[in-house]
Subunit: 283 residues, 4 copies
């Protein structure tokens, strides 16, 4: 039987939940999950709902009806996904392999419900890893003079492969505006600090210098401002004076892997909404 | 304007959310918060809802109507609380003072929205602490021969003071069955281990002996079986070989304080439901 | 039998450990604890050692001999404390009471091995709390025009009471340079963020605005640059989109209490050394 | 220049540290790291030391001298390792691949400083993974009737490949006594609970049934009693009522990977000592 996930945000007013849930009830939909949140400051209502229909139902018809009878009435921004649809994910890498190994291990074992049609890298180092896991690898070098050209090639490949979202698995290049514009809130980066501390380059070096007692990692959607996009997930680990920069880099790897993997999962499972440069994550 | 919290559990079927939310919508109720959970194994539906009415509303009438038009239809177990109602909490202590200081500090600073009409203890040691915070203190000794008598005195005091629930802040006596029966799922205990590990006496000694690398604390509702009631909250802290039993006891104190305080808060805020000796905690 | 704690730092070279430990061995000292750390970047050696003598020993003689036979040879900065000596701690507060309640509760239960000769505040609000715990309270208002005068009064009181170090338990005033100079690396502040993120005023508001998924607290020694002194301890807690600023403030209180208490304990137990605006904490 | 790691335990008495450190000082050894611990209950002294020699030094001579001049005097159990020696690690698996992917990813990226001469499995499922990473894979089926025969084959392979220690990466068979005896405190298992809670089979199912709010994982040395060997490392993650058994299994995978990897690292880096069925881990 068909199953959908619905994401909504709209101006807050009374009756939204009653109207939305009644809509599905009348169409033989069994609501398995509902979560909502009201941003009181901006009076915006957010909602995530999973519904399983007890009879054959056309999802495109349901969408049409939802739009006409509910969504327009409340001026909603909304998306309805079929639970069957498997998102198509591109992975960008440079030379570090730990996040790539982690993602591909999770993918192979069925933990990440995505397709991975391609891996793109500005270096050739990880080509062999891609091959071991049977995933097409494209080497697109990026130099000061070839940035635009590279962006065009990347975009072309992504469109050809019908990619839904991009994961930057320690990709060490600034993402060009054109790519960000083509994938708004659909490029996930892992930054190796607990943002907003230590944004920019070499966060472990800065953490060492400042003498912090915890280090962190942050997965976030990429926006034009560097390391300032909506945060999806963060985690930390304790360190002490006895850890060298090399130790921080090593300890940080596990953080990066898990924080990135969780960010990807929330995105795949349609658990994230973005508003005002912040995420609502319905876990 | 009146504000209520509704807690429900009932056999799972479709339409419950739509019916409940429509009920409040029709009565000018604005739902600020809704959370639900379906226990698929037992097909039981659980829900917590906060509703603020935009017009003067009689809560007792609302209860009556809810019962007739919704609750009976779905065979619900349910409770509707006015947000104004401040629960009355009794605290039981013995000789350890850290949890008591913690609770009373939070109470004085307004963090715990309760009344504390009395503190009961089987020892006199903490009478002065109670006096410093201006709370009546009752010394009810418990010996092998006076258990029943003590239980009767406790119950009498609790009923006289219209106590809603009891907190055992490191109270070192087994709670008699009569008291448990009078306060079902309304006695909160703090146990100084991550249950089910190290149930019973001297958990820190057992943890030391086993050589664990983490210790924990657990707040739970008291049932007849010792340390086996529904778990409300748990937390842990890391230890190493270098920590003595005394160190574990000291490190555990902060865990006990926080895990108990969180358990109390969830209870006060009507965030807990109990089913099958487990809690649903809508945080 | 006498017991000492020794803290050392000096240029790194070989033989230091052998020489120091032999020094105590020859004087019937049993080393219970030794920890060391080498800052390879700056080639500085740090060490903490606890030694219990098996015969009556004059600590002042031991100090004199240590200076002559070991310390001068290796050009050491060092301090030797008798384990009996109880440090004298002043507490500065403003209006928030949670850290004060926490510190005084730990003090009363014997967890903090200090004397607290006085509490100083720029407001009268917490006078009653001080009285309940039987600690002298001094109200020294601080206004734009009376800063210097207030600093003089504070310093006079602190010197009269032979205070060893100061704890700022959410004291909401900038500490004047004269006070910092009089207590170098002996003023402990609690800042309600994971520094260096959200230094300065209103960190919870900034954390909310940025949409972080974790909040933190930091205890550090006070230096002239605001919130930039050597970090002693940090901890964090998870939050989500659903937490308001008020929730963050409330959740942060437990962090502040524990992180400050741990910072105080490390200081009291002579576990901290400061070098290059960073701490070495021998836990 | 040669570099060694020394691990010691012996009856506690005064002068051990002075004698050991002087031993190296006199032989042009620069002590980079020293950590010690005294088990006061059993009056046993434990120590770990790293020493770098500033002149060419024969490690076998040093061992001989250490034995004669220090070790025998204090009745020490001790081991001295050359920092160059790379331990040889066998991996046992069954059908779960997440720990294997994790270990091999860390191995390939140079994080684990070991050789992996072979992978042994009672199933053929993961043969392809082993091949992708270029590691010999041996399929040794284990049935009720072939246990002894299988153990012999395993032992033969392990000895032929000069294996130093074994990692059970979710290997779903009881290890025979003969193998445990051949590798005392040198077989590392990952158990998917915070031991001693939920020892034995199906810990996630038991955790779900008990309604715990945290789940854990434990890496430990294998002894004859199931899941009761010395604990090396533990970690936990929070869960809620909303997590199904399947969710626990999924969330637990990350725990298992990290807790096993840390256990392996501590072992490889000679940071663990075992005494009285507990570990001393000098991190």
């Amino acid at each position: 039987m068909p199953k959908i996930t619905l994401l909504i945000h709209c101006p807050d007013t009374s009756g939204i939940i009653a109207n939305v849930t009644s809509f599905f009830y009348k169409r033989h939909g069994n609501i398995n999950y509902i979560d909502q949140y009201v941003d009181l400051e901006n009076t915006v209502f957010f909602m995530r709902l999973e519904c399983e229909f007890t009879a054959q139902t056309s999802i495109s018809n349901t969408k049409e009806e939802f739009k006409e009878t509910v969504a327009e009435k409340y001026n909603m921004s909304w998306e309805m996904y079929s639970a069957d649809a498997k998102p198509r994910m591109a992975v960008f890498v440079s030379k570090y392999d730990h996040c790539l190994y982690d993602i591909l291990g999770r993918y192979k074992s069925g933990e990440l419900k995505v397709s991975i049609p391609l891996i793109i890298s500005n270096h050739k180092d990880l080509e062999q890893v891609a091959q071991n896991f049977g995933i097409p690898f494209y080497h697109i070098p990026v130099t000061a003079n070839t940035k635009e050209e590279a962006a065009e090639k990347q975009l072309e490949l992504l469109q050809k492969e019908k990619v839904d979202f991009i994961v930057l698995a320690r990709y060490m290049q600034i993402i060009p505006k054109s790519l960000i514009a083509a994938f708004p809130n659909r490029i996930i980066n892992i930054h190796h600090s607990f943002l907003p501390a230590f944004a920019g380059a070499k966060p472990y070096h800065l953490a060492y210098k400042r003498g912090v007692k915890i280090i962190g990692a942050t997965s976030h959607y990429v926006t034009e401002e560097l390391d300032a996009g909506p945060i999806i997930e963060q985690d930390i680990t304790r360190i002490s004076h006895s850890h060298s920069i090399k130790d921080l880099i090593l300890k940080g790897r596990d953080l990066e892997k898990i924080v990135l993997a969780n960010g990807i999962k929330y995105h795949i499972e349609r658990k994230t909404l973005v508003f005002n440069n912040k995420t609502i994550v319905f876990t």
